[in-house]
C-alpha cells in the first residue's frame, strides 16, 4: 500500500510540473523566436560594422530592424547557387520563408543538396554592395560559427563576426572577444594571384609576408580554435562560390 502512495505522489508531481513547464514554454516560445532572429540580424550587421555609423552593440533593437528593412536584401540559395523556392524553405521548418530565420546548426546536418544557405546583401550608404555569408565549423570544445562579408568583387573580405559555444575565455574565445582578431580579416582576399580559391588562412605564429594577401595571425595558445576558424572559412565560403559565380555572370 505504501508503495502505491509513492507512485501516486510521483505521477501527480510529474503531471503538475510537466503542465506548468509546457504552458510556460508555449507562452514564451514566440518571444524566443523573435530574440533568436534579432540576434542573428545583429551578427550579420556586425560583419559589416565598418560601413555602419555606430557599433552594433550600441544599436537599439528597433534600429537593427530599420537597417534590415532599408539596406538589407535577403535570399536563400542552394548548393548550386540557385535561389530556393519559398515553399521549400517553409517546409524545411522556417515559417517566415526568410534567410534571417535559417538555423545553420540545422542545415549543417543535412545532405549537401538539401542544405539552405542564407545570403544577406547589404547596400552601404557609399554605394558598395556587400554579400554576407553564414559559416559554421568546429572549435576546440564545441561549435564555432560566424558571418563573413564579401565585397562585390567576390574576392575581398569586408568584415567578419565570429561566435562560439564554449571556447576557453582568454584563448579560443578571443575569436569573439578580441575585436583585433576579426579586424585582421577585412581587406584579405579569398582568391590567390592565380585565381585559385584559397579562403583566408589563419597562420600559427603570425601571417607570413609572402602570403599577406590571404593570411592572418593565429591566436597564441588557441591553435585548434584558430585552425577551426581557418577550416570554417574555407568550407563555409566554398559553399557560396557557385552563387557568387552566378551573380557575377548575371551582372556581366
Amino acid at each position: 500500500m505504501r508503495n502505491n502512495s509513492v507512485i501516486v505522489f510521483v505521477l501527480a508531481m510529474t503531471l503538475i510540473v510537466g503542465t506548468i513547464l509546457t504552458a510556460l514554454f508555449m507562452w514564451l516560445s514566440p518571444r524566443f523566436k523573435v530574440n533568436e532572429i534579432l540576434a542573428n540580424k545583429k551578427a550579420v550587421l556586425t560583419s559589416v560594422e565598418s560601413y555602419l555609423p555606430n557599433k552594433v552593440k550600441d544599436l537599439e533593437n528597433e534600429a537593427v530592424e530599420e537597417i534590415f528593412r532599408s539596406n538589407v536584401e535577403q535570399y536563400v540559395v542552394d548548393f548550386e547557387g540557385d535561389p530556393v523556392d519559398q515553399d521549400i524553405i517553409i517546409n524545411a521548418g522556417y515559417p517566415s520563408g526568410m534567410a534571417e530565420e535559417i538555423d545553420m546548426a540545422k542545415e549543417e546536418k543535412k545532405a549537401e543538396e538539401d542544405k539552405l544557405f542564407p545570403v544577406f546583401v547589404y547596400q552601404a550608404e557609399n554605394g558598395d554592395k556587400v554579400y554576407v555569408t553564414s559559416v559554421r565549423g568546429n572549435g576546440l570544445w564545441d561549435k564555432i560559427w560566424g558571418n563573413v562579408a564579401i565585397k562585390d568583387d567576390f574576392n575581398t573580405v569586408a568584415g567578419v563576426a565570429f561566435d562560439h559555444k564554449g571556447e576557453t575565455p582568454g584563448l579560443g574565445a578571443e575569436i569573439k572577444d578580441n575585436p583585433a582578431f576579426g579586424a585582421q580579416f577585412a581587406g584579405k582576399q579569398i582568391f590567390n594571384a592565380a585565381g585559385e580559391y584559397v579562403s583566408v588562412n589563419v597562420q600559427k605564429g603570425g601571417a607570413r609576408e609572402a602570403y599577406a594577401q590571404y593570411e592572418v595571425d593565429g591566436i597564441t595558445g588557441a591553435t585548434i580554435t584558430a585552425n577551426g576558424v581557418r577550416d570554417m572559412m574555407y568550407n563555409g565560403i566554398q559553399d557560396y562560390l557557385p552563387y557568387f559565380e552566378k551573380v557575377q555572370g548575371e551582372s556581366k
Binding site: F9, V10, L21, L24, L28, R31, N35, E36, P169
Partner: protein, 235 residues
C-alpha cells in the same frame, strides 16, 4: 520521524509572518559566520565558472536567490507529505522546474544575458547550496522561515560571487561590469598605451582563468578566519 518532531516545536502562536531576532539571523548568518561558500564550502564549482565578469555573476546570483528561496518554500510546504523513499528526487524535480522557469524567462526577456550564461543557468540545478538548504533546513522548518533561509543563503552566495567577479574582471580585463577602466586603447578610461603613469600596466590574464577564482576564494576564507578564529575547523 525527525521532521514531524521539529515542526511541532516551531508551531507556536506567533503572528503569521514574524520577523524577530531569529528570523533576522536567517538572513544575516549566511552573509557572515555561516556563509555558504566560505564556511560551508558549497557551490564552489559555479563560483569558479561564472565569475569572470560582474554582470553574469549578478544575474546568476539573482537566479540562485530566486531558486533557493522558492524551492525552500515549496519543499517546506510539502515536507510532511513527501514519501521518504523519493525525498531527494522530489527536491531535485522542484529545483529543476524552477531553474527551467528562470532559463525560459531569461531567454524570452534578456536574450543577451541568456546567451552569455548559456550552460551555467542549467547548472544551477547542481548547485549544492540549494539542495543542501532543502535537506538541512526546509525539510524541518515552516515555509516562512525556509523562505528567509533561502534568501539569506542566496545572498551569501551572491555576495561572494560578485566580490570575486569584481576582482577578476578588473585585474583580468581592466573593466568592472563592462565599464572599461584601464587598458591598451582609447575605449578605456585610462589608456595605458598613451599614459606616462600607467604605461607599464598589462591586464593579468591569469585572472580570467578558473584557478584565479580558486585562490581568490581561498584568500577570502583565510582573511575571514584570521579575524574570527572561532570559525576555524567548524566546517
Amino acid at each position: 520521524m525527525a521532521e514531524t518532531a521539529t515542526t511541532t516545536v516551531v508551531k507556536t502562536d506567533e503572528p503569521k509572518l514574524p520577523f524577530g531576532k531569529k528570523e533576522r539571523r536567517l538572513i544575516t548568518d549566511p552573509l557572515g559566520d555561516n556563509n555558504p561558500i566560505t564556511i560551508q564550502v558549497l557551490g564552489i564549482c559555479s563560483a569558479l565558472a561564472v565569475t569572470t565578469q560582474v554582470i553574469p555573476s549578478v544575474v546568476i546570483s539573482i537566479a540562485v536567490i530566486f531558486v533557493c528561496a522558492f524551492s525552500n518554500v515549496i519543499i517546506s510546504m510539502l515536507r510532511n507529505h513527501i514519501p521518504k523513499q523519493v525525498r531527494m528526487i522530489v527536491q531535485l524535480v522542484v529545483i529543476a522546474t524552477l531553474v527551467t522557469v528562470v532559463e525560459f524567462v531569461l531567454k524570452a526577456f534578456s536574450y543577451d544575458v541568456y546567451k552569455q550564461l548559456s550552460v551555467f543557468i542549467g547548472l544551477i540545478i547542481t548547485n549544492c547550496i540549494i539542495m543542501g538548504r532543502l535537506e538541512a533546513f526546509a525539510m524541518a522548518n515552516n515555509p516562512w522561515r525556509s523562505f528567509l533561509d533561502g534568501i539569506g543563503n542566496g545572498l551569501g552566495y551572491g555576495a561572494i560571487l560578485v566580490a570575486v567577479a569584481i576582482l577578476r574582471e578588473f585585474f583580468g580585463k581592466g573593466a568592472i561590469a563592462g565599464m572599461q577602466i584601464i587598458g591598451p586603447n582609447a575605449d578605456y578610461l585610462i589608456n595605458t598605451s598613451e599614459s606616462w603613469l600607467f604605461g607599464w600596466y598589462a591586464p593579468n590574464n591569469l585572472f580570467v582563468f578558473p584557478p584565479a577564482a580558486m585562490f581568490i576564494i581561498a584568500v577570502m576564507i583565510w582573511i575571514q578566519r584570521t579575524y574570527r578564529p572561532n570559525l576555524v575547523d567548524i566546517s
